[in-house]
């Protein structure tokens, strides 16, 4: 067990080291970075902020990991966030009770995800194409729900999801952490994770092996839609309003980036939800760092582009066997263990 953990830790080393490096740079730019204080029964501080702001992307990345592991991609999560946020805000303003609002918003996300799943699994569309439809139309639907205006609300129950706290921990962090724990338990304590990897590696072979890959894909995309709607509710609750045009804009790209930074291959197969969450935290730490160091937030985009390029170079280097020499030691150990 201990050996397994060290192996996992070795694999996570590049990500952990880069996170530490970014946090250290943040500390240099802003000496108060690691200060955490308790105020009005809630934790405050830049480090808490990294997790708090990163929570929506962590949640998106959890769903996106499953989709990418199945050799797909979901471009519609940003638009689905906007739909869920718009629905939650509009229904709250219309006076529906909180449980109904939450269920309706989650249901809308699930429906969007299932729609994507049907297109991918049963219509055999390429995932990029299938989810592109909702990416374009989703924002239109969200604007239809809010009738083009930014709907604001003051209902404390819904706002609690964005800015409230429980035992000192902000709600978004709690929600993201519980979802993370549940998702990891479900995919690793059951065969589900293995099955997802198998359709990612070879879908037709998995089908021949007796796996109902269509149903599984439907479930995966449905789950991704559900995650997106959860993130949408949090963001709407955070700003106390729903902006159909800007809610979740470009977040699908952040989610994909988080998964890629976490080391899951875009070609499907082996995945790690925990590493994707770590990837999301790395991205958010970069965002916060740039804001704290006083650079204009626009530099963020260039930094993200550079990160993608570096990761691509590293992945390509390792796939061409560049690491093989360095890793020879670990590989032989790995085969012995099996």
């Amino acid at each position: 067990m201990i050996r397994l953990n060290t192996a996992a830790l070795t694999k996570a080393m590049p990500q952990l080291l880069s996170l530490m490096l970014i946090l250290f740079l943040n500390y240099l730019a802003f000496p108060g970075f690691f200060e955490i204080r308790l105020q009005d029964g809630r934790l405050f501080g830049s480090l808490i902020d990294v997790f708090n702001r990163g929570a929506p992307v962590i949640i998106l990345a959890i769903g996106m990991t499953a989709v990418i592991a199945s050799r797909g991609v979901d471009l519609s999560v940003g638009a689905v966030m906007a739909v869920a946020g718009a629905l939650a805000a509009t229904m709250t303003v219309a006076g529906y009770p909180l449980p109904v609002v939450i269920l309706a918003a989650l249901g809308a996300g699930l429906a969007c995800g299932l729609w994507n799943g049907i297109l991918v699994a049963y219509f055999d569309l390429q995932p990029i194409v299938a989810t592109l439809i909702l990416m374009v139309a989703g924002r239109g639907i969200a604007q239809l729900i809010t009738e083009g205006s930014i709907v604001t609300f003051t209902e404390p129950g819904l706002i609690f999801f964005g800015t409230g706290s429980f035992a000192g921990v902000p709600m978004p962090i709690l929600i993201a952490a519980s979802l993370l724990a549940v998702a990891i338990a479900v995919v690793r304590r059951t065969a589900l994770g293995l099955l997802i990897e198998s359709i990612g590696i070879n879908r037709s072979a998995s089908s021949y092996a007796g796996l109902n890959s269509k149903l599984l894909l439907l479930v995966i995309y449905g789950f991704c839609g559900l995650c997106a709607s959860l993130a949408g509710i949090i963001i709407a609750a955070d700003i106390r309003g729903a902006d159909a045009n800007n809610a979740g804009l470009w977040l699908e790209l952040d989610a994909i980036l988080a998964v890629v930074v976490g080391g899951t291959s875009l070609f499907g197969g082996r995945f790690s939800i925990l590493m994707s969450a770590l990837g999301a935290v790395i991205i958010q730490a970069m965002n916060t760092g740039i804001l704290l160091s006083g650079f204009p937030p626009e530099y963020n985009l260039i930094l993200k582009a550079l990160v993608i390029i570096v990761i691509l170079l590293a992945q390509s280097f390792s796939s061409l066997g560049g690491w093989a020499f360095l890793k020879g030691e670990f590989r032989s150990k790995g085969t012995k263990r099996q």
């Binding site: 990029i128 139309a137 239109g140 604007q143 530099y299 985009l301 582009a305 993608i308």
Partner: protein
């Protein structure tokens, strides 16, 4: 009839029916003014869509289009307004940068063997970020050369204006058709998109073709940026957000398969015009809001993709039937 022509015919038919329906409701839409404006208003979209058609024909995707348009606009504005460079020289600089930018994305896609969407995603961030680094303000462009180009139009009978940028788009489409169907490079693109491995075995220079495709897409995005800056007389770093989606939608509605290898440049032109007609209809109607454009485009996207799936399914069935019998 050739099954490959069917999506194109369906697109043309939908375009004609949509236009006829619009004219039936608003007779004023049947005028050269509306037709001229359709070309002018969608000129930048059309030019970018030609580049996107080539990329999609080769089986890839280019998400950087919108950002490159904005980048070109901002670069032109900065060069012309702040540094007093002559617009023609600024155009040349902008086109050079965007072509090199596209080519380097092609190099990464080909040699590192990474999916095009993640590379062009990085390109999208990079180009948009460069805009912001240059300036976050909207810079107006006020130069006699710009005014001259903007005032250049051919007056159609009925008062319509065939503007310079509208003609430029039509010209780019014509050149695109020639390159796609009557040049060696064009047949290479179709070959790579149809089946990369077979193309390589047949002796198609895959590396040169891939890099050429993305360089061309970069060049055309730069040209679209120039047209966009002529159209708006300004450079703004938040301009043209989401244009990549509009161009992809135009390409797909135009009947090009997103799996690559099948499609026509002419179809993309009709796809652009259909989007233009929807927007014009919304303007004429006055009560509908602009978000209906997105929903209708989404529905059209779905219908065309479904149509393509059915066609592929039918042709597969026919192929197995003939090989079996």
């Amino acid at each position: 009839m050739n099954a490959r022509l069917l999506p194109l015919c369906a697109t043309l038919l939908i375009c004609l029916i949509a236009y006829a329906a619009c004219v039936f409701q608003f007779p004023a839409m049947f005028s050269t003014r509306v037709a001229g404006n359709l070309l002018t208003d969608n000129a930048f979209l059309g030019i970018a869509a030609v580049g996107m058609t080539f990329v999609i024909l080769s089986g890839g995707i280019d998400l950087s289009v919108g950002s490159v348009i904005a980048f070109t606009g901002v670069l032109l504005a900065v060069l012309i307004t702040h540094y007093g460079v002559h617009p023609l020289i600024a155009f040349a600089i902008a086109l050079l940068i965007t072509t090199v930018f596209g080519a380097s994305m092609g190099v990464i896609i080909h040699y590192l063997e990474v999916p095009s969407f993640i590379v062009t995603l990085a390109g999208m961030f990079l180009a948009r970020g460069m805009c912001f680094v240059m300036t976050t303000d909207s810079i107006p462009i006020d130069h006699p050369f710009y005014t001259a180009l903007q005032g250049l139009f051919y007056r159609l009978p009925g008062g319509g204006r065939l503007t310079f940028i509208g003609c430029l788009m039509v010209l780019v489409f014509l050149l695109g058709i020639i390159v796609a169907h009557f040049s060696k490079f064009g047949s290479y693109i179709y070959a790579v998109g149809g089946n990369r491995t077979s193309a390589e075995l047949m002796g198609v220079p895959v590396a040169r073709t891939t890099i050429g495709i993305y360089a061309m897409s970069g060049f055309l995005s730069g040209l679209a940026g120039i047209v966009f800056s002529l159209y708006t007389s300004a450079g703004y770093s938040l301009a043209a957000v989401g244009v990549e989606l509009d161009t992809i939608a135009a390409v797909v509605i135009g009947g090009t398969l997103l799996t690559g290898g099948v499609g026509y440049i002419a179809g993309t032109f009709i796809g652009v015009i259909i989007q233009g007609i929807i927007q014009t209809y919304i303007v004429f109607d006055g009560t509908l809001s602009s978000w209906w454009t997105k929903i209708v485009v989404g529905v059209l996207l779905f219908s065309f993709i479904a149509l393509q799936r059915i066609l592929v399914f039918l042709s597969l069935k026919r192929a197995t039937a003939t090989s079996g019998g």
